[in-house]
Symmetry: C2
Subunit: 233 residues, 2 copies
Amino acid sequence: MAGKDDDVKVLGVVVSPFAIRVRIALNIKGVSYEYVEEDIFNKSELLLTSNPVHKKVPVLIHGGKPISESLVIVQYVDEVWAAAPSVLPADPYDRAVARFWAAYIDNNMFPGMAGVLFATTEEERAAKAEETLAALAQLEKAFAECAGGKAFFGGDTIGYVDLALGSNLHWFEALRRLFGVALLDAGKTPLLAAWAERFVEAEAAKGVVPDAAVAVELGKKLQARAAAASTAA
Amino acid sequence: MAGKDDDVKVLGVVVSPFAIRVRIALNIKGVSYEYVEEDIFNKSELLLTSNPVHKKVPVLIHGGKPISESLVIVQYVDEVWAAAPSVLPADPYDRAVARFWAAYIDNNMFPGMAGVLFATTEEERAAKAEETLAALAQLEKAFAECAGGKAFFGGDTIGYVDLALGSNLHWFEALRRLFGVALLDAGKTPLLAAWAERFVEAEAAKGVVPDAAVAVELGKKLQARAAAASTAA
C-alpha cells in the first residue's frame, strides 16, 4: 500500500460537504490529486479498508497513508503544504476561534440541516429548519466578527470556517427546491447570503461545489430509503 | 475585560472530562492558572458571557480573551506555550491520527458512556454499555498502534489522545459503583486498563482527575433530574 509521497488521492461523494471541503483545501494549496467517486450504497474495498472505523468519505490517501474525518484532513493539508496559502489563520487565538466555529457548523448547524431532509413529518421538518436557522443566525454574527468587513470568514481568501460552511451550500438550495424551506435567506442572514455568492465564485471552489440538482436527486433517494426503513421498523 | 497576557483562568466543573483535559494540558505546559469551579445548576455570569453560544464549561480565559470547546482549548494551549512539552505530536500524519482518535472519543465513546448514566431502563443501559465497550475496543487497538509499546498514546508522556480519554476515567469507575457496569475491564481491554493506572499517576494529572466518589454524587443528582424531567414530559 505504500505510495510515492506526492501521490494524493481523495475518496469522496460529489455532494458530500465533508468531501467538498477537502477538495477545496487541496485546490487552495495547489495540490494535484486523483479524485475517486464512491457509491454510498455500495462502498469500495478501498474505502472500507482506508477508513475501517467509520467507513465514510472523505478519505485522503497521501503517499499510501489514509487520513479520515474532514476537518482532520483539512488541518493535515494545511500543515503538510504549509508554504502555500494558509487555511487556518496564523495567530493562535484566531485559530481557536476558527476551530470553534467549524466545530459549531458540524455539531450544531449540520444536524439541523440533515434533519430537514430526513424528517418524517412536516412538524419535525419545520422544527429542524428552525434549528438550522438559529445556527445560521449565530454564524451571521460570527461572520461579522471574523471577517471584519472582508469577503470571507478567513479574511480576503477562503479559510477554515469558509470551507466548513461553504461545503453545505448546495444542500441549502436542494432543500429549498425539495421542501420550499429557505435556510439561507437574504432577509434573515444578509451577510451570509452575500458571502455564499462569493464562495461559489472563488477559484478554489469552482467545479467542486456541485449543482443543487445533483443534491436534489440524491436527497430524494436518501429520503425514500429512510422512509422505507422507518416503515419497516 | 482586557487582562494581562499572563492572566490565565479556567472555568470548570471538577468532574467534567472536558474541563479536566484543559487543566492537565496547562499542567503539562507548566502554566499557572486560576481555577474557578462552576455550579452547573446555577451558572455564573462570567461563564454565560464568556461562552454565550454553548454556555458550557470549560472556558479558558487568557489575557481577558475567552476560548471554548475543550479540544480547541487544548490545541490553543499547545500552540501558545509551544516551547514547553508538546501535547500534539510534531509530524503532520501523527497529528492527524491523534486528532482522529480524540474526535472518536468525544463523538463515539463519550455519548455511550453518558448514556449509561442517563438511561431510563435497564435495557437501554445495557445497550449504552455495549456501545461504550465497542468504542473502547477500538481504542485498545488504537493504543497498540499509537503507543508502539510506550506508556501513553502520546509516547513517553501524556499527549492529545491521552488527555481526551484519560479525562473520563473517574466516570468509568463511578458508573461501575452506581450500576455495576464494568467499562474499563482488564479482561477486555488490558492495554487500556494498564494505561489508565499510569495516566492517573502522571504528574500533570495528579490532583486534577477527581475521586470517583465525587462523580458518583453528581451522577445521582443528574440522573434524578433527568428522571424527573422525563416523568414530567
